[in-house]
């Protein structure tokens, strides 16, 4: 086990610098070093070390309950919001330790989109998108307008809502609401975007739109997406990490992982023998 990618030592995280363009990414934008997460005494993530390269879509796959969501929630410090939840190990963003920064500052740099669309129900489309900026103290109308339009365009929602931007956000369809939530996350100009099964509550057409969007988002953002859908990982992600029972089993370029998995567990999961 030691030395394989299943359990890299903290000193040498599973670096995939060689897998993506080496000039661009010498080291990961976001790095995990022996990260473990707990709910009370229960260990949900077991010493995971990973490099998430910049401007890349990385998928995290695995069966239900394997800790995918827990792992992604450690990255923007949402895990610790749960009572009695704790984290050990290191997580760094451009070399800065996330757990030494202020949690709110971390979350402004690392945005998140959730399983179910969760727009603020009493707010208009515009106010939903502007919510994060207003938290940051932006009051200038022109700046807000510009950011809202840019974010809605970035989330591929602008054309559908521009006629009624001051209408309530919850009147939109499920897929539109999810893109509204993406726009809301983009508005604060994060560096990393975490997506926790963003399509699990959506129909296939809405899913296709979001997947299309994810492929364009990586030009500006580092995207990390949790999915239970392996086809989705194959469609959107350059890199894939397979998680099982809280342990990182395999990490590599998505194509390799699906065609020539190194680990037996990965192969069994991909071929549908469990999970």
């Amino acid at each position: 086990m030691e030395g394989s990618q299943a359990a890299p030592t903290p000193a040498e995280p599973a670096s995939l610098a060689s897998a993506s363009s080496p000039a661009q990414v010498a080291r990961g934008k976001l790095r995990l070093e022996a990260l473990s997460a707990f709910y009370g005494p229960k260990k949900a993530i077991d010493s995971v070390s990973l490099d998430f390269p910049a401007n890349t879509v990385t998928a995290i796959i695995g069966p239900s309950g394997c800790g995918k969501s827990t792992l992604i929630r450690c990255l923007n410090r949402m895990h610790e919001v749960t009572p009695r939840a704790t984290v050990t190990g290191r997580a760094t963003l451009d070399g800065e330790d996330l757990y030494e920064m202020d949690a709110t500052a971390v979350r402004r740099r690392i945005g998140m989109v959730f399983q179910k669309p969760n727009p603020f129900p009493t707010m208009s489309v515009y106010d939903n998108v502007a919510a994060g900026l207003k938290l940051n103290g932006v009051r200038n109308r022109a700046r807000l307008d510009e950011a809202v339009i840019r974010s809605l365009k970035g989330a591929a929602l602008w054309d559908e809502v521009k006629e009624n931007i001051h209408g309530p956000g919850v009147r939109l369809s499920g897929g539109q609401q999810q893109r509204l939530c993406i726009a809301r996350a983009l508005a604060v100009e994060p560096e990393v975007l975490l997506m926790d099964e963003p399509c699990s509550a959506l129909d296939p057409i809405a899913t296709a739109k979001i997947e299309q969007l994810i492929r364009t988002l990586k030009e500006k953002y580092t995207v990390i997406i949790v999915t239970h859908n392996m086809q989705q990982a194959a469609r959107v992600a350059e890199l894939t990490a397979f998680l099982y029972l809280g342990k990182l089993i395999e990490f590599g370029p998505t194509g390799d992982m699906f065609e020539r998995p190194k680990e037996k567990l990965t192969e069994e999961y991909i071929t549908g023998r469990f999970g």
């Binding site: 923007n76 009572p83 709110t104 402004r108 603020f120 129900p121 919510a131 938290l135 309530p168 604060v188």
Partner: protein, 329 residues
């Protein structure tokens, strides 16, 4: 007979279920209808019983300031009571709503886990404390404090503000409008708190996470994710509190000082409709005064309805653009 001698058990059950459904539907409808009937009967009864004064005094009953049942010329004007009712209730709301929301936010969002359940139960227990107990506390504990400390202090501060000073002037009676309002406020805080807290607890975690993921602090999360979502419940809580304040009788009667004049200052005794009815009913020997008191009850009922409708319209006007918090998805 075309029917077979024995019905198959499955059919029998289906028929039984259909009958149950029928009774369920019409049973619940009947209960609901009886509520409407009760309300209408009440209005009918009050109108009928107060007919003598309605026909004799007309609108003078509402605008008149003198309540004198004695012959030879009995006069019934409920204006001081109406003013007292509206004044004490709005003052009580002014004091109670911010306090209640603060407690509710603390209980729902901020308090450590081990404190939430016991403190929440305590609040619910306070809802059930009889008003006569609040009244006793008002007389023996609050009145002296109001009379010798709070009211003189208010006079020295707010009393000096031009335009506002009149309300905080004059000698402190102790048993007065302000004391009654404070007692009322203390009485409705548990009600407003308990219901607001429930509606905040019902806010999905996803709303809090949405705010947190944008980098919101705890207070910002409450302001952005929790309060708007729980809004309709919070407003409902306030309307219930207001209803209790408008109609509260015992505690107010014990602390308001019972004077049949429009109070010139908050430090002077007054009277609410409810306290007037409680005070006068046993002493009302003439049928005309009895009719007058019943008409006062009718006026109180109408005020309650109007205030409720106004509160709802106000709320709808304030938040026109949205689809309402509790009914998302």
């Amino acid at each position: 007979m075309p029917d077979p001698p024995t019905t198959p058990p499955r059919d029998r059950r289906r028929r039984w279920n259909r009958a149950l459904d029928f009774f369920f539907h019409w049973g619940t409808a009947a209960v609901a209808a009886s509520l409407v009937a009760l309300f209408l009967t009440e209005i009918l009864f009050l109108t009928q019983q107060s007919w003598p004064t309605i026909t004799r005094y007309g609108f003078g009953f509402i605008t008149g300031s003198v309540w004198n049942p004695n012959p030879p010329t009995p006069v019934f004007g409920a204006w001081p009571y109406i003013v007292g009712t509206l004044l004490t209730s709005s003052l009580a709301m002014l004091l109670a709503v911010p306090l209640s929301l603060g407690v509710a936010v603390f209980l729902s969002e901020e308090a450590p886990g081990w404190l939430r359940a016991p403190l929440g139960s305590l609040v619910e227990l306070l809802v059930a404390v009889p008003s006569v107990v609040y009244g006793l506390w008002g007389i023996f504990v609050l009145e002296p404090i109001m009379r010798f400390t709070i009211e003189p202090d208010l006079h020295a501060t707010l009393g000096q503000v031009p335009g506002l000073g009149g309300a905080f002037s004059g000698p402190s009676a102790g048993g007065d409008v302000l004391t009654a309002s404070v007692v009322l406020a203390i009485m409705i805080v548990p009600t407003v708190t308990a219901i607001s807290r429930e509606s905040m607890r019902a806010v999905p975690e996803a709303q809090r996470e949405a705010a947190l993921s944008l980098g919101a602090t705890r207070w910002e999360t409450t302001r952005l994710g929790v309060i708007p979502y729980a809004r309709s419940g919070i407003i409902g809580a306030c309307i219930l509190g207001l209803g209790r304040a408008l109609g509260e009788t015992m505690a107010v009667t014990m602390t308001i000082g019972n004077s049949n004049h429009v109070p010139g200052s908050l430090f002077l005794p007054g009277q609410t409709i409810a306290s007037a009815i409680a005070n006068e009913f046993n002493n009302s020997f003439s049928p005309l005064e009895r009719a007058g008191l019943i008409e006062a009850g009718l006026v109180l009922l109408i005020i309650t309805v109007l205030v409720n409708v106004a509160a709802r319209l106000l709320v709808r006007g304030l938040f026109r653009t949205d689809a309402g918090g509790a009914t998302v998805e």
